[in-house]
Amino acid sequence: MDMLTLAGRTFRSRLLLGTGKFDSNETMTRALDASGAEIITVALRRVDLDNPQDDLLSSIDQKSYLLLPNTSGARDAEEAIRLSRMARIATGIEWVKLEVTPDPYYLLPDPVETLKAAKILVDEGFVVLPYINADPILSLKLQDAGTATVMPLGSPIGSNQGLHTRASLRIILEQARVPVIVDAGLGLPSHASEAMEMGADAVLVNTAIATAKDPLGMARAFKHGVIAGRLAFLGGPRAPHLQASSSSPLTGFLREE
């Protein structure tokens, strides 16, 4: 069977799901189930002391999913490292989706701080999955630093714009020695499918599913989009060309030649 291997663990699903923006924990758990995802991301935030019993994890069957804490909200390496250590001490989970986004408007990742944090976290024994712009050189530097993956963006987080980074993604995919997970900006199953057709090992989706009118239906659609794209990649697609190429025989026509 075609499995995804990340840091020595294997997964059947190549769709990672974020848990943000769902209108209720019930919708979220049903969408998680419908998506087939096995890895789900979570964020760390201050406890709302006016609503102290609100607990996301009580809704999630932690035996069914690998929790992947993110460092969202971190503006520099120091904050990302602090959040990573908090996540690890709480759960014992050493996996972290490293995000450093100093600019709240476009939420684009800071390459310098991300690389700096990645090196320290790898040294501390974390399994680091860094969210990055689609930068081939940065991807190589992160791999050299020992990250488990690289996670280049398709377009800004939550923007639903799809793959605006195709040319750079192709280079990253060609050079990668670790799995490549395309993260952020995927608004439709066809976007996810295209990333998988190009050879991405997996994709991460949140907003497109959580904010759809029917999150369950959209979760199913992304599940199948990812599977279709992966199968197409394995199927060995042919390059496009300008001239037509008849699918039917070009002989035996009912006319005089």
């Binding site: 974020g18 848990t19 943000g20 923006k21 769902f22 979220m28 991301t41 979570v42 964020a43 760390l44 935030r45 201050r46 406890v47 002391l49 102290p52 019993q53 607990d55 996301l56 994890l57 009580s58 929790l67 804490p69 993110n70 969202s72 250590r85 908090m86 996540a87 001490i89 709480a90 987080i157 939550g158 952020a184 991460l204 949140n206 907003t207 959580a210």
Partner: protein
Amino acid sequence: MDSVIVLNGKERRFFAENVPNTLSSLLTQLDVLETTAVVEIDGRLVHPKDFSETLIRDGQRIELVRFMGGG
């Protein structure tokens, strides 16, 4: 004696009869389930197994965080 603790960036006053001795008793007073909280006191992480033995002192800065939905 009353006690003031900076909780998640905001000062909170505990009257003498309610001043929590330990981190566990603070979490109980705040109605926060221990197993859901990550705690930093004055910038130092506290391991969950140490919650019941960690003493709370006047003037400390305490951060209480937990997992939320996120992408």
